[in-house]
Symmetry: D3
Subunit: 285 residues, 6 copies
Amino acid sequence: MLSFGRTLNVTRAAAADFSLRTRPTLTLCSDRRLLRISPRRKCSGKRYNVPPSAEFLARVSGIATMAKLPYQETADGLDAAFIGVPIDTGTSNRPGARFGPRQIRAESALLRSYNSGTRAAPYESLMVADIGDVNVNMYDLKDTCKRIRDAYRKVLATGCIPLTMGGDHTIAYPILQAVAEKHGPVGLVHVDAHADTSDVVLGEKIGHGTPFRRCVEEGLLDCRRVVQIGLRGSGYSADSYEWSRAQGFRVVQVEECWFKSLAPLMAEVRAQMGSGPVYLRRLQY
Amino acid sequence: MLSFGRTLNVTRAAAADFSLRTRPTLTLCSDRRLLRISPRRKCSGKRYNVPPSAEFLARVSGIATMAKLPYQETADGLDAAFIGVPIDTGTSNRPGARFGPRQIRAESALLRSYNSGTRAAPYESLMVADIGDVNVNMYDLKDTCKRIRDAYRKVLATGCIPLTMGGDHTIAYPILQAVAEKHGPVGLVHVDAHADTSDVVLGEKIGHGTPFRRCVEEGLLDCRRVVQIGLRGSGYSADSYEWSRAQGFRVVQVEECWFKSLAPLMAEVRAQMGSGPVYLRRLQY
Amino acid sequence: MLSFGRTLNVTRAAAADFSLRTRPTLTLCSDRRLLRISPRRKCSGKRYNVPPSAEFLARVSGIATMAKLPYQETADGLDAAFIGVPIDTGTSNRPGARFGPRQIRAESALLRSYNSGTRAAPYESLMVADIGDVNVNMYDLKDTCKRIRDAYRKVLATGCIPLTMGGDHTIAYPILQAVAEKHGPVGLVHVDAHADTSDVVLGEKIGHGTPFRRCVEEGLLDCRRVVQIGLRGSGYSADSYEWSRAQGFRVVQVEECWFKSLAPLMAEVRAQMGSGPVYLRRLQY
Amino acid sequence: MLSFGRTLNVTRAAAADFSLRTRPTLTLCSDRRLLRISPRRKCSGKRYNVPPSAEFLARVSGIATMAKLPYQETADGLDAAFIGVPIDTGTSNRPGARFGPRQIRAESALLRSYNSGTRAAPYESLMVADIGDVNVNMYDLKDTCKRIRDAYRKVLATGCIPLTMGGDHTIAYPILQAVAEKHGPVGLVHVDAHADTSDVVLGEKIGHGTPFRRCVEEGLLDCRRVVQIGLRGSGYSADSYEWSRAQGFRVVQVEECWFKSLAPLMAEVRAQMGSGPVYLRRLQY
Amino acid sequence: MLSFGRTLNVTRAAAADFSLRTRPTLTLCSDRRLLRISPRRKCSGKRYNVPPSAEFLARVSGIATMAKLPYQETADGLDAAFIGVPIDTGTSNRPGARFGPRQIRAESALLRSYNSGTRAAPYESLMVADIGDVNVNMYDLKDTCKRIRDAYRKVLATGCIPLTMGGDHTIAYPILQAVAEKHGPVGLVHVDAHADTSDVVLGEKIGHGTPFRRCVEEGLLDCRRVVQIGLRGSGYSADSYEWSRAQGFRVVQVEECWFKSLAPLMAEVRAQMGSGPVYLRRLQY
Amino acid sequence: MLSFGRTLNVTRAAAADFSLRTRPTLTLCSDRRLLRISPRRKCSGKRYNVPPSAEFLARVSGIATMAKLPYQETADGLDAAFIGVPIDTGTSNRPGARFGPRQIRAESALLRSYNSGTRAAPYESLMVADIGDVNVNMYDLKDTCKRIRDAYRKVLATGCIPLTMGGDHTIAYPILQAVAEKHGPVGLVHVDAHADTSDVVLGEKIGHGTPFRRCVEEGLLDCRRVVQIGLRGSGYSADSYEWSRAQGFRVVQVEECWFKSLAPLMAEVRAQMGSGPVYLRRLQY
């Protein structure tokens, strides 16, 4: 999960989120192929936060921050910040993702600072900390979205890249509002079973099935630099992904991902994203 | 749970709900002492719906309606109707009560038509059916409250007594709006760990901690005929129940319920309720 | 799971069941490759039942019928009918499949009417409903089998194709008795880890390990049109599948299914099945 | 659970079973008040089996026999024998009790040889071992009953007292057939929520709701020495326990057990049982 | 759980721990009767840490410290400090208590600052914070004990009262070593099912069954001021509690606690404890 | 899992273990490709133990030994012996593997004597039994290691091949001490996510992350005949497997195992192992 670290420089990535769908206990296995990219950023002599090694600190000891990184109240001085958005009130079926940030932090006690497969060493070149959670409004999803947008504005104002721990998929919308305010329309790498591009659900414009419709309407995405990977299952119309394709999104249905390495696809995704800012969204089952 | 059946005549009870807090699997054990009341209503020769006996229909067979009673779309012709309100978006901590009605129905396959302890035989004098769920708005709690109120107006208009399967505690507010429209201010028997009388939480007037504050503000309760039983635990002020008492509610903290029969208390509750309409609210752990 | 819809015309399919082994919570992911077949049946102007869209009806709302389709007491007027057979008394090890139909119905609230991968739209050309469960005898497996056979006779008499929700694997035997009465010996597509072709177990002829032995003995299967796919694991003899092959069954062990697309296999299966009636049996893990 | 040990002399107890209803994980807490009786039997110099002390053998080590007592194939030479009857095919609702004997054995690793509350020391005067399980027929409940009866005949023929680990409640019937063959009609101490005295269920005479009806019909019980304790909940008729009382059984509904010591009741039970042989049946939640 | 707050002044309490036995999910319900004592300590004008109100901060938001109190690295300036001791390597049967401190913190998001039953308001007169966990040695229990003792020495040196979140019962021994170094032999209020006074288990002097034997041997307890409450179950000798009583401990078996208020017992316990320092140990089921 | 049976002759295999990491419920699916080897050993006319067939003995019946094989106290007369090592006190994070042997035995009731895929029939040429568990010291990991080594010395002295059911990964070290005493340095086939070659963790030389470092230091492994397969995830240094490779181990990271048959790899492993004794270590997820 930390393997993308070295590549998160300011010109490249704008934000990333790790949304939960329904399973409160996560396995934080990252898809290394997606992110095996060579480092760009130089170390500048300053000392970085590093997850404490389980060789010296017992895994079960310590306050559960993300990867046991230091907690700090704001994003000041950080290259990247873990931030939790603990909501599930945008969910249509099974709730529980509100406990996602708390449980990701608990399980992150197992993370170590290097990745043997990708050889990524994010903590050698990036200053990272856990800055806690957005104070959401459990009783009003629209107000929660405002609170998320405002919180991300502050984080982004410091120049820091937010690494979001969700939370249901609704959160992509207010986060991208804040991101696009700073970076303009961004690219999107969206790994999920669902496109999340519905227009109105149960009479509502905001929910976990609609964020990317709202983002396109408000011009938050650079639609030629959007890819949705892994889409599958039943839908409301004969071509569920027609709208996505009509916006210029690339859609990669899950059948195209079976029985083969995803490395060629990832090379194409990198070419599609180019050098502009990108929002990464990964569904963790 | 069905033991109160015989006493639910029109002059006495206005509505009843069975709210869930956090545990999705219910044990439907009723507190018989609360409800052991003699029957009033005459049988009038018509045939009633009765839960099918497991002597003839296998417990595991059949569509999961409440107690395997017939499903009908409206409350027309019913004395009492089971109705689900599947929400948890008013919850401050653990969600899941949205699956309460579905799971209560699943477990209700164990219910039989008589109660050996209370000798209640509700299906001998009341026409009861399952009329399904309110179509809630998962994404907007305030709109959900409107939908609940409107649905209960229709049910109450038929003269039927609604037996609610929740759903988090927010639902008492819109249900009582509809009940008071028909019956005027009603008495309340409220069995719970919490008073649910907060004013504003996270900036919101509506949530699972505030329904009875709203009900008092809108004059939906006959405050001298309100009793809250079983209150306990930590609170926000030195006397968490000061406001309840100031309204004229009787508050029975849980310490008063330990190590003894609750029959004397129930006699007092019955005297307090008198002959006016009453809303029963039972928390199922 | 609904993707095979269009192909279930009268000349082709005779019945289908979805048996459970031991896991009460299902993931209803269908193997699309198996079933991607072009439609044959014409729409004839009549209106069909369609699972209500979660865009208008909250997923958590409503009585739990299969896919929230209407419930009707008989199969009259239906092209296909979901029917539950809630037994596990034929199981040798872990029980629980008796709750399979109830739980499949609960989880089916997530199903939508189209399948983006296969482009199947079953509800555009078939009248489908949920007709409830067979009233099984929990205490006598042999009598349960009679009850299943009788119930399926009635369903098949209407010309409807039954879509079975199991229930342990014993059920294939009485269902095929009813199917063969109407259609003569049928083909079989059997996806499972076990062949279920034992002769006698614990002194009994009927149980979840013996149904296809009984079917062959009674001439219910067209043995040249039988394929068993995915067989694996330990057995009672050096060649566990010898008997199957001796009957003319095609046996595809699970090793032949690893690391590759199953599309070529499915083409062969279709050729093997030809145009006669077929019984589909899918194990859901 | 072992606290009744000293009192299980040949003239007093005939058999005991510990039936499971639905929860596979047991807490083996005994109700000491029921069983605090002074010892009668003399030690005769021979050495007894004793559960190995966790002071010397790690709790997690060792084959899971009951209390880690030795396993032997027959009851020869034993005063009392633990025997499992792993069935749940007589259950009307939730199965799983077939794993009861296995799980009781697993959890029994926590048992120690003395009981501080009752001062019982069963292993100082009784030779006890685990003699395994009845080889039940998973596919035919009636044949299973025959197998149980036959197995108990053999155990009882040795003069040993069987201590049964169930298994659903059906088992009381075949066990009492074997017991009454040897001891004549016996007394019964039955602690349960249900009377298990139905006549016919789903057309069947044998199941977990009918054993004591069958026992009375066959004269296996000394009806004046039968007590049913803890009965509660809903039933099929206005007086669910009428039949029990008509046979001369004492019925103690659960309401009579609340908020007080059960010692006076147990004194009455002992007086009722007198000095004849008794079958103890305890439901473990 | 926080209800004892006001009484934790320096002359009265020396330490308190909340040990876990086997259940990782806690319900933090305190036994109010034990601790309803009037306040002694004056507020001195300084501002205290207070758990943030869920009226303003969403329960699901925020790093999981105990009661969301501030985390600080040392006990400097605190009246009382929550400290975790995350071990279970002293457990004889089911492990998991190593996750106790983490899970207590997670569930403590529900705690509020006042207790309606006891009227305790600990945060109005005590400066409390969470100081994290002892860095235990997962692989060597004896070294873990040294690490615990050393950590508590540092905490106690500041004058702060440690409020321990365990961890298995072994921890009482090294904590009391540190406590007695500072306060001399202390009183003990020990609420548990087991006396934890074994001498040697599996050849070892240190484990979760031996701490109070070690404490007595080293003179850490004022034995006339020791009470063990709730002892029950099976043991290794006819009188499991003989040794406890021989040391002068008061032993209150669980049978003495049934069916009645514990207030009279608690009055006696307070008289027994007098005015000297006391170690409270509470088992949470 | 039993498929390797025929190949376990004295000149080839020295020992095998099946270690558990964190999941108490096992699926005992073996990777057949690893072990499909032709038989070498002749049947010599003696009769072997065979797991009883579920055709004659109900799966739920019987004391839970491994595969319901006979239990015997020592390894005398056995070709191979199942032996449990129930520890988890060497675990850095989630414990529970101490219940591994007990749970493997419980689930092994499903095993049958032949494997249809590999055609292995181990019980036709090997005398196998369950010889119970090592009596571990729950409170001292170092003493536990001594106890394991001593127990394995006795088993190996009989000429029997131990088939270990773990238990955490620490156990490989003391087992290999005993194995190398008898067989000299052995080959190692190690299937795991982690290399378990750390030097010191939390100041300790012995724990579940260090066994193969210790083994190399003590010359227990023939390092050219060591292969570690499936290594993955985050580590403490840029090249987590540098040390392994420096010893001459072959390291096969998990990325090399994706999307393809492992048969070619297994052929290479067999060539690497040659004809000397080998220790197999398989992690079961």
